[in-house]
Symmetry: none
Subunit: 240 residues, 2 copies
Amino acid sequence: MSLDIQLPPRERLLQAAVELLANSEGAPVSTRKITELAGVTAPTLYHHFGDKEGLFDAVVAVGFEQYVASEMDLEPTGKPLDDVRRMWDQHVRFGIEKPHLYLVMFGKVRPGNRSNRVSEAEALLRGKLDRAAEAGHLNVPPADAVRSILAANIGVTLMLISEPEKERNFELSDMTRDAVITAVSSEAGIADSATPVGASAVVVAAIALNAALESSNPQQLSNTEMKMFLEWLHRISKTT
Amino acid sequence: MSLDIQLPPRERLLQAAVELLANSEGAPVSTRKITELAGVTAPTLYHHFGDKEGLFDAVVAVGFEQYVASEMDLEPTGKPLDDVRRMWDQHVRFGIEKPHLYLVMFGKVRPGNRSNRVSEAEALLRGKLDRAAEAGHLNVPPADAVRSILAANIGVTLMLISEPEKERNFELSDMTRDAVITAVSSEAGIADSATPVGASAVVVAAIALNAALESSNPQQLSNTEMKMFLEWLHRISKTT
DNA sequence: CTAGCACCTATAGCATTGCTATATGAAGGG
DNA sequence: CCCTTCATATAGCAATGCTATAGGTGCTAG
């Protein structure tokens, strides 16, 4: 039941924590299980990490470095706002692929006590947004843009994580991403909302009809007709 | 140290839980402190609520009802999307005013396991958005709009809660709110002031869709399907 | 009036949790 | 060879969520 590979205990503890964190679906992981799997006793853990939270911080630091690295691997596109979009996507992907790590990083909110990881993620985003601002692509201060984008990004990721895997609809991410980024950017100002991207009069009308039908069922169509009608309506409502 | 007011133990437990939850700044609240403050022993708690989580659920249910009530108190403005904006603001205000309750509701995310409160909040929003859709103010299906808005709303609220009270910048909320709502909305509503009095929303929407289809034929339906679809649309458009 | 029954509460204690006071071992420098 | 320093282990504490069991308490049936 212990990691036989003879590494220094510190590394074994980290490895054990990662493994248990990954396999226990969101359930709390005890220090005892960790030390047991690492083949080590309790004081060793506290000698090296001081705290359970210290150990988890170390684990998260590793994960966060991977996340940052995966972002740094990508070359800047030249359009800073496109970089921001890509960063958003990386963020979401990281959360989906390693939910346990992500939740340790961003999941436990405390009043008046912002977590380090949030600050670090903010700094990362800030870099890109400063460049966007220099290029005149922002219509709000970068500091404001960062907070808005990051808040939405975390909110979306948490929501996707909390959804059953099968039901996950990533359009949610794209939609919200473009919404907040467009809002802070001066490229396509907020004002042109009258002609939203990809929306056609047909889609708008189809959605409206669908909603209206749900609240009152007219008698002009039989049940089977209505069923088919609704399905087609649904298909029309789906853009792209 | 105990609540002297002689209420039924169940109520005393609820009251004690609320009080401790409110005063302990985000720190975990133990069942022992709760039962002690309520002047009651452990089994009583488990008899009435089954679980610590059960007790907290009951507490949260009370808080949520207040939240819903505060929303219901407001009369609809007539513009569904304005109602949505107000709902967003109510959500944020609730989170700021009762962070402990809010965090119990929305703070503990588990992979693949959406919380009841999220679903309930979704249903609330959904009501308003359906009306917006009926009025032709949406350019995405209401279900998608709900998720995007709610995810951003929760994200923003969590971020505001996690910030030191002095630094809180509520512009973050307004900015993000308008961003996501604008993104899902088509202010060029099809059924705005031109809505004939007395005509049902279904008929209006059907006529609008018919008109929209005449100018652009979508690819989602085959020719035969489209033919039948148009005929049914026609039947629906005929007022009885 | 009393026997029985359902409901509610208390006594006492279990297993697990994070963490630590203290002791033991090993490695290196004087 | 001793002494310091670092790293690990023994054993156990206090707090946690929860429960097996038993004891009231009030209501209804006989």
